[in-house]
Point group: D3
Chain length 309, copies 6
């Protein structure tokens, strides 16, 4: 059966200071579309997989700009609702050499976080749903919508991937640590993007990312706890300096595991969205053959590596 | 006595689609600072008048960007408070030839409209306060702050200018027509920027802008009603087509009036902020010599004309 | 029945000298998508009409660039074939003030003109086909493909619009005047975009565009000669100077006609694609209500006017 | 005999505020080459006439930039000397709509005005020399060099054109009105670009530019006074407003005269260098046929008109 | 005797995606002039050597753009013919960090490859001719013209340098491996730019680039086979990663050889044209003193290194 | 007591070739403000320290541009005088990869070097003065003004920091080595930015920068010679290649010293102003606590490191 993937989450506009300036001093902004799940949708569509975005946008020029950009990339935009509220945005000073980047989220009151109704046919014809933990943390309405949609997906027989995408700052703002909602999602997922830190949070005891066998330990503990889960995948990053990183990745199922070779990346420009590219690469392969773990993790890392430039 | 002017109102960042694109299709935004009262402050500072801005900004890179831009223009930024909330912004498709411009305000939840406390020393050392009707319409807290600050100004003996700046869309969103608040402000003002339409609203009967004597009629009715008012000034615009306008201006006191010659402007690029430039030009002259109405209105129109390019 | 429009023709990439430079001196080119029929497709999609493009592109980065740009605008790109040959392009020095523009076509050997196979399902589900005379002149294979596709459309019961788009230079290069092929197309069309000059060519006698009644004369002669034809529409342009034009438009059926008011456009930037915008505006209305000629011609002229900026 | 024209004068770099900004606020400058005589040289080379530039540049990156730009346009740069001093420059806020432009010359201490030696072979092989009054006003060394070179040209049998290019601000700075030096040059010239104001200065009595016959009067008085002079040519400009001008031109010999039709130019961007373009157009034609005054004046005006955009 | 070098080959326009975008997504292209032999001509002219380009360009704005750019760099453009056909172009996604670049040639039907006549005086006054293997592979007419011109050069007593510039893709398109044409050229050359791979192709047995002595072996075999050959020169590149390379170079004559030190280049931006810069550096020195091999190879490598940024 | 720092020196405009071009080939320049002491002022203001600039600017658009840019950064511009002369400028080809940068100073005849009067109240209210050796070398008037102002500062009880900033090329142009003037300044300073080379010049014997103890030796010799001096600070730079440097820093007082850890910087873009950033970081800390040498040197190095990007 050919996959039809639905990605659910907030679509953000990204406004980045141009020409090496910082936000404090810039006279121009470069406009791009972002948002973790939208990034995954774009990457999947570029890989030739039929992909739709489920989200809500304002009925104004910025909402149209976001929609047109997704459409340009081949994402099916027919399931984007319009609703009341603002366009979710973020402002960025890109990293430059050893100078770190700076992100300013400006998404309060966005259509998505106001939880405007999802189209009732949003999942019709889809075979897989991809969701991330960011939607749980953004607002309580968004969290409720996310969980309801995921349940509907399970009932309709879709497979599910869930990217933890743990953002401490977002969760702090809610006053909770998100453990219960995240667990509820992982419990429904077939494929979970998360590492030993997520395992520590979810299972309430410390795991370590020190080496391959400790990481498998954490993955197995998750697979043990959550019975529908088929696989757990994550990346590890060693930062030598601002522009040189070493990255590697792994995926674990109950009875097998695959590790990529470590890749050294020099002259890195920007790491935004590299986690999303990884998820897309793994997911695209996993949908085609869930047994071929090695291809999944290699594709994921290759896509992620490309995204650093 | 040398004037020290305080302008109170919301500082906005203006993000305009560059290179002739529309917001729906742009890949770059040009960043400027706007907001009616901030425009007046910049224009006054450029005329060499000591001018401060009283407002509140977020403590983030966008707030800093706004502050630095005002400071560049010579506006005293020492009285800008920081507070909770977003940076107020607006997005713009600039007009081009016969194609009209399009403005999208994105200022909900801004620090200013949340009414964060004004510095208690904000008026110390100032001799004049300039305020506009936009601050009354933006939110009820902003309206309360505006009126309180204006009262304090009166008590401290400052003179006051008030620009009606009537924005139907803003007032509609409040469910009121603003008549009472505006009247409260005009009642305290020395100089009012408003035309026959404002007179109609405030006095509850129809006035006309048909010709000079009808406009003087409206001004005199206002001067009659509001006893501290010294002068009323306004512009009139005849739009021949998208890029060619004819503009003129007048000012009326109880026993005198001055009219400018009509100016024909061709190849107009952008009329945003032209009303603010007019107010600044009139105000600067009026502060120096409140009797010389002709200079006031001529300077105002000259500044306004320049702002169309 | 909801319309599904198919536009057939060559998709071109347009490379325009930026920042006011000429092609001879430029260091940057601005990239856009053009081609008369693709312009119509984009305009129709922007009006909310389901529109597909039937054409052939090279399987290389430039072909992908063209496809993604059409997709961004909401044009259905599922019926674009890939084939051997180059991407069709044109280079442009935009007009500036009284300085005229300059166009350099560079489309020899393009996939489209090499006549690569049209997808056999290209017309499935479509209700209307739009074609232009440019495709007849571009190459003999393109001409053959155009006529074959049009015949198939008629057999399938689609309605047909045909824009003469007479380009003397293109026809001169073929050594023919195109009369026979054009007549063959008009004979199948329901709606023909052409004026008194096209009538002169097709009917072999002189018509005049001097005034409304002479223009109706030419239209009636065409409606007389071509029995399936329902309506004939055209624009007239009076050039006052490089940046000021007056434009008007008309449409004629056998027993009715509608004329727009003349519009004066000042500060014109660029007239490329204004004829295509007109065709799209007329067509969109005609598809909805073929009797309402006035709306058709007014919409067409409004869209065309906007395109000058 | 085929003409080989030598232009003598200062080559300037022109730094203009970009993107509509003023010099006071710009973050980018656009770089071009200017200088009245260099403008003439570029225009002549573009008309296909063998043209060399005689001047002196600093041996630094800015000097090289100026040389390469002239070379790009086909001007022979083999006779450019290098010398001590700075590159002559000027900074520009371009005009925009009704806002006038602003020029800031920054040429003190330039190589040219320091009078560094002209190559002894500078005139070898040349048939015509073009000079302007600016070189007389720039510095006393420059003035001396100009007159010496012109004398050498006369001795070598070259024809001479002289553009008065009267710049009040430059002459004021010298404390003289330039009458004597200018007269010395006109006395050697075959073709003089100057109008009734130049006649007034040179002949010490008032002439008028009111209409054609008064202008011929002034020209004849000059032809009377200066016996080697063959023709006098000038333009007249009527400024309707910032972006709309009407221009016309005339040329007078002793027994004939030619006037162009008046041209109306709308949407004017920039009038810098339009006088130089006129001189080049007239000169190119005059060199080919000194009797055909009408062609000369028409070509001059056409080139000048184009330069306004 | 002062050298006058003629470079023969196709002049290409290079259109590169700007601002870090790929060709598939770009909205702007940066325009440069390229083509292997034109790159050599520009580099030689910048070194102060009298250099002309022999090639053919279309008589249209793109041809003019190419000509003006070469002229700017000081290349003598008087021997560029005009002919029928297109301008040869290539499109480029520049490399960025670990992401490789992508080149799309679009040169079919170009004036050069159509073999339009070379000016009969093209070699008059020249002392040296530089040619590359690309011209042999581009089309059979180009190949014939190349060989004819080279023979004429030999007859006129010019020295000859030949850069193999082996492009597998170009040769594959011809269905031949080029061995015979290349051999014919090397047989006439004084200086050959080629390495052990070229030796393998030309001599029909395997050579190795493993170390200095194996490379000298290959060079000596070539010098042995081709009796007029005086020297063979080549570079070797060790790619550590996308932005860090180590490069070295050597030159061999029958009885001497010189090797450069290996240079490590970090933060490499672009390697296009680095081989051409090497050839120019070696050639410039060789023309002055064919015995000083060390200077030749050091200059070549220095120029090549600079070209990576 | 809260510090109020006055920086004295020439404000320069910096015009840098944009988009990777060299000055010889650029069509655009990026405009920034520079000058060693102005760089220090901007850095101090950004650290929140009340900072004024004492200098002289021309009363023209370029002077205004410089003033507005300093004001934007929060530097107090009330003590900038206007005077006769040009704006001091420099032109820059930025470094790129292994290609070194190139600077062209164009400051002759500048207002500052012409020594126009310093405002008599320039030091009123200031607690500290920062000066550099560049002002001594620029012109004899500038040198005299510098020393006079410094003496006045001592008399008023201000503390003094002096950055040697030894520029061989500037001193060579004066025909002196500057030893006496520099010594005069160091003799008045509390904090001296200089290394073992400065010690060698000032004390007339050789010192070495080989390792920490040799560097302390040089610093102690200076502290010994100049009795009011409290501390000496310097950086050391090890250049691995164009884009990778290792930098470290130290500060010595009579009875203590502090060294930073060495930092490795990769992907360096530009080292202009990095010495000024270091001085600002050290000075800011030293003003707050002159005993805490470690914080001073660490802050200085951190700021300097950031400035490389
Ligand atoms: N707080 C947030 N809210 C919403 N989206 C976020 C947030 N933080 C990051 N993202 C999105 O997540 C995407 C992935 O971020 P990335 O830096 O690759 O993280 P990681 O590798 O840790 O998953 C980014 O493109 C951004 O759009
Ligand atoms: N709804 C609004 N809220 C806040 N500021 C506004 C609003 N509408 C306009 N402005 C500001 O008012 C300024 C003046 O607008 P302008 O077009 O000159 O109007 P007018 O001539 O009618 O006064 C603009 O620069 C903009 O920043
Ligand atoms: N020779 C041609 N071949 C292909 N397309 C063309 C040609 N000439 C013009 N076009 C296309 O036709 C479109 C319409 O041109 P336009 O200037 O509006 O003409 P008109 O108003 O006469 O129909 C342009 O966008 C261009 O892409
Ligand atoms: N003071 C000056 N010094 C040197 N060149 C000047 C000066 N003023 C103008 N120019 C040059 O003269 C050229 C012609 O100026 P333009 O505005 O066309 O004047 P006009 O039409 O009066 O001759 C400009 O390109 C500029 O380079
Ligand atoms: N197929 C080709 N046809 C024509 N020119 C080519 C081709 N491939 C490369 N070039 C030209 O050759 C030049 C040299 O390429 P370069 O990457 O330095 O190769 P190398 O080091 O292998 O010689 C480039 O500037 C490009 O213009
Ligand atoms: N000759 C000079 N005249 C004036 N200022 C100079 C000169 N050379 C450098 N500068 C200024 O000094 C500042 C510091 O230069 P930098 O490269 O950091 O040197 P260092 O680290 O040796 O102190 C630069 O921003 C520049 O503006």
């Amino acid at each position: 059966m050919t996959s039809v993937v639905a990605c659910f989450g907030e679509v953000l506009l990204r406004f980045a200071a141009s020409d090496g300036a910082t936000l404090r001093d810039t006279t121009k902004l470069d406009v791009h579309v972002g948002g973790a799940e939208a990034n995954v949708a774009v990457a999947l569509a570029n890989l030739g997989i039929a992909t739709r975005m489920i989200s809500a946008l304002p009925d104004n020029p910025l909402g149209t700009l976001a929609l047109k950009t997704l459409r340009r990339e081949g994402v099916d935009t027919a399931y984007l609702a319009t609703g009341k509220g603002r366009m979710g945005t973020y402002f960025l000073t890109p990293a430059a050499g050893s100078r770190g980047g700076e992100v300013l989220y400006d998404r309060e009151g966005s259509v998505f976080s106001s939880g405007d109704a999802v189209s009732p046919t949003a999942l019709h014809g889809a075979t897989h749903l991809h969701v991330s933990g960011i939607s749980l943390a953004v607002s309580s309405t968004a969290s409720a919508t996310t969980r309801a949609l995921t349940k509907e997906a399970k009932q309709r027989g879709l497979t599910l991937s869930f990217d933890g995408n743990y953002r401490p700052s977002l969760w702090q703002a809610t006053g909770r640590d998100g453990r219960d909602e995240i667990a509820e999602m992982v419990d429904m997922a077939d494929l979970f993007f998360g590492n030993y830190k997520d395992a520590s949070l979810l299972l309430g005891r410390e795991f370590s990312g020190e080496n391959g066998s400790r990481m498998r330990e954490a993955a197995l503990a998750l697979l043990n706890e959550f019975s529908s889960l088929k696989a757990v995948s994550s990346t590890a990053r060693h930062i030598e300096n601002g522009t040189t990183h070493r990255i590697s990745a792994r995926i674990d199922s109950r009875n097998a595991s695959a590790e990529s070779e470590e890749r050294s990346l020099t002259g890195i420009i920007d790491r935004i969205g590299t986690g999303d590219a990884f998820a897309a690469g793994v997911l695209a392969n996993w949908l085609e053959d869930p047994e071929d773990l090695q291809s999944a993790v290699d594709s994921g890392l290759a896509l992620s590596a490309m995204k650093h430039y």
